[in-house]
Every structure is written in C-alpha cells, then in structure tokens.
Symmetry: C2
Subunit: 231 residues, 2 copies
Amino acid sequence: MTALHERIRRDIESRILSGEMMPGDRLPIEHDLMAEYGCSRMTVNKAISALAAAGLVNRKRKAGTFVAAPKAHAMVLDIPDLAHEIQESGQKYRYRLLHREICNAGKVDSSLEIEGDVLWTVGVHIADGKPFAHESRAVSLTAVPEIDDAVFDPDSPGTWLLKHVPWTEAETAISATAVSDREARALGVADNTACLSLIRRTWRSGEHITAVRQLFLGDSYTLVARFGASA
Amino acid sequence: MTALHERIRRDIESRILSGEMMPGDRLPIEHDLMAEYGCSRMTVNKAISALAAAGLVNRKRKAGTFVAAPKAHAMVLDIPDLAHEIQESGQKYRYRLLHREICNAGKVDSSLEIEGDVLWTVGVHIADGKPFAHESRAVSLTAVPEIDDAVFDPDSPGTWLLKHVPWTEAETAISATAVSDREARALGVADNTACLSLIRRTWRSGEHITAVRQLFLGDSYTLVARFGASA
DNA sequence: TAGTGGTCTAGACCACACA
DNA sequence: GTGTGGTCTAGACCACTAC
C-alpha cells in the first residue's frame, strides 16, 4: 500500500516522463485533483510540490502548474568508490603507497589548490595486481593533525579519511590529460597515454580538508551521469 | 518573509553542513521541534521531510531522525550548453558542418549505440574562429523524420533538436581518449592529443532520439560536479 | 508496548499575478 | 477583482520497530 500523495505524484510524473504531457502543458488545478483523487488539498499539494522540488514542473500563482522543460545541465553524476567497486566485481583491491611526505602545500602539484602544511601522498590503486588508477593527495595538517599517525598500505588515504573525517562539501573537476612519464611508469602504460583526471576537493564547515588528483586510463574507466528514469 | 517550514529546514541544514551536527547524531523529535518553533506538527514535518528527501537525514520510526553520512557518489554535474557558454564569455560561436548523411546506424561510430536509419552529422564547434569541440551525432529518423529538412550551419543539430524535440531521459558517459587523425585535423591539434569524450544519449518515452559524441581538448575544458553548498 | 514518524483531513488566511 | 498556489492549524489514526 503506497501513500496516496505518492500515487498522485507517480501518476503525473509518468505522464510527463512518457511524453504524454509536453513541456509547457498545464496541469489540472489542485481543486480538480482533489475531486479526481477524492482527497484533501494538502495531499494533492504534497504530490505536486514534490514534482516542483524535483524540477519537473513549475508552479505560478494565479497561472497554474506547468510541465517544465528538462534541463540538460544538472544531471546526477555517479562517482563510484574505487575500493568498493573493484571488490564488488570480484577482483582483489589494494592500494600501494609510493611516496609520503610532510611538507608545505607549495611543494605539491599546484592543481590541488591547497594551502598550509600538508601530508602529501602518492600511490596507485591496484585491481588483481594491475594498476588501475594513480593518485596524488594532499591532506591539511591543520584540519586533520591526527592523520600523521595513520598507516596507508592496506587501505588508501581516502578510505582512512572517509572513516575518520566526515566532510560537508565536495567538488570534483573532471578533465582529460596525458600522463607524465613518472605517472606512466607507476601505471605501467606508455608515456602520454590519455587519462581521465578527477580532482576532488572536500571541505568541512568551510575548512579545506583534502584535495586529491586521480588519473584513470581513458579506455578502461567511464563516468556516467543521468537525468530522468527516476522510477 | 520566508516560510516557517523553510526557516526550520535551513536552521537544521546549516547545523549539519557546518559540522555542528555529525553524521549519526540524532535530531530532536518532531514534538520538541513543535514546541521550539511554536508551530504545528505538519510544519515541522514538512521541514524535516525536505531534508530527508535531499538525503541529509535518515528517518526511522520509533528510533528518530539522524544526520546521514554524506554520499560521495550522486554529485550534481553541471553540463554547460556549448553555444550558450561561449556567447556568455563574449566570444563568437559558430558550428561548422563537416559531413551530413542519411544512412544506417551501422555505418556510424559504434560507440553511439543507436539503431535503424539515422541522420549522421559530423562538425566542429567554433569559438572566435578557433575549433573548440568535435562532434559526431546520429539522429533517429524514425523518431524525428522532420530533421531531414533542417539546416545546420548557423546552429548545431543539438540546438535544433533542443528547440524541436523535447526529451524525457538523458545519459552522459564521460571518458578520456586520444584523438584520431581525422578528428585532430578538424580540431587543429596534434595526433593523439588527450581529449575529454562526452557521449550523450537522449530518449523520449523510451524511444531513442539521438546520440552524440563530443570531444573537447583536455587542457581547455573541465566539468565540475558539486555536493553541498546548497545555500 | 510504547515512542516515533507517516499520512491525512477540512478547513483557514494570505500573497501573488493576471484581468 | 479573482483565481491560483503557499502556508498553516489542531487535531486524528496508523505502521513500524526498538526496547
């Protein structure tokens, strides 16, 4: 038994997603939907408000409720967790630490855009013995002083951070780049191979916690973003 | 004057996003929030339900409402519209059609994964006279027969489709690749330059409308996905 | 079993935008 | 003015589940 407001929402949503109702079409007014479903206005309002929050419809006083034009930007991007993803597919995951150093952020890859004293780590993510991704990470020692005591060979610094330091904001920048010679060696590929570069920065109440740059081989890793098909 | 339920939602949201409340912490029960804000239970419920819908809290009967652990996957990806983006930055946008053909989908780049008879177009997006992105697109003639009459030199096929054929579902796959010699010539770059590849497919009520593969120079184009900072 | 959220009602007044 | 959504109330009963 699904809730009535949920049934109303799905009814209308499916009419929109199926193309039966086109962008710009006007929905019945709340009063008519009350009659149609035999319920109170609050229930109808809850259903339509949910659609409005999801961006499927626009509501205007006096004018009514209209099917919105789908927005191509603002898709939902699924960024899988490396260790989890690999283990799910039945492969054996491991992180291999290549470099670890306490230093000033100025010494680290400038694309990470972090400041102050940091713990800088470089390593590779390995699936069934095969290098899968290269990672260069800086963790702010001001924000996370206790990370100095952590050990990173079975688990990656990312896993350690997830367990110990919750973040409240994150940003991921995606671009393509050719691997440098050092990175190519670590990954076991030819120089200048095309790689997908993910730079992720996380904050906690405005304070920068960590920045990481991960390189994936271009032909073996794909990110997918979706819009629609919420059913 | 903001609505009361909105004020309650923001109050609690800011306590979570600031890190004042940690994942796992329990929120006050609805009855206590009623007293705190001097309102009815429906109003409190609307505020907390919105937080639950946004994934910031988890609600459990008998147990209470708890701050959720932030999910790294499911970030919001902003995919800018090419023509719009370029014109906003004060540059002059143009699309140059390189190839146009009615053919069977089998002849087109297999990565587009489309079937049946299609209109296949290849072209480049140009900003201030400089090639910016390479595009190969297939449009289903079954779904959009009228596209045969369209002209694509001032506007791109994507722009035409946006105006004429609303879609209901979309998927974007992001990867990195080295450009082929033909693509490199069209873009005016060296062979094997690392590029960001976006493959987007759109549907309308389950029917495949179009698939497009766009290549961007790796060092001049970045996608950004965000989590948090909803204020 | 009892505490908590999930849902719903039948009203009410207000704010806005179009006529 | 008038029609539409925006918000809110003061209850009610139910469903789940941790205790």
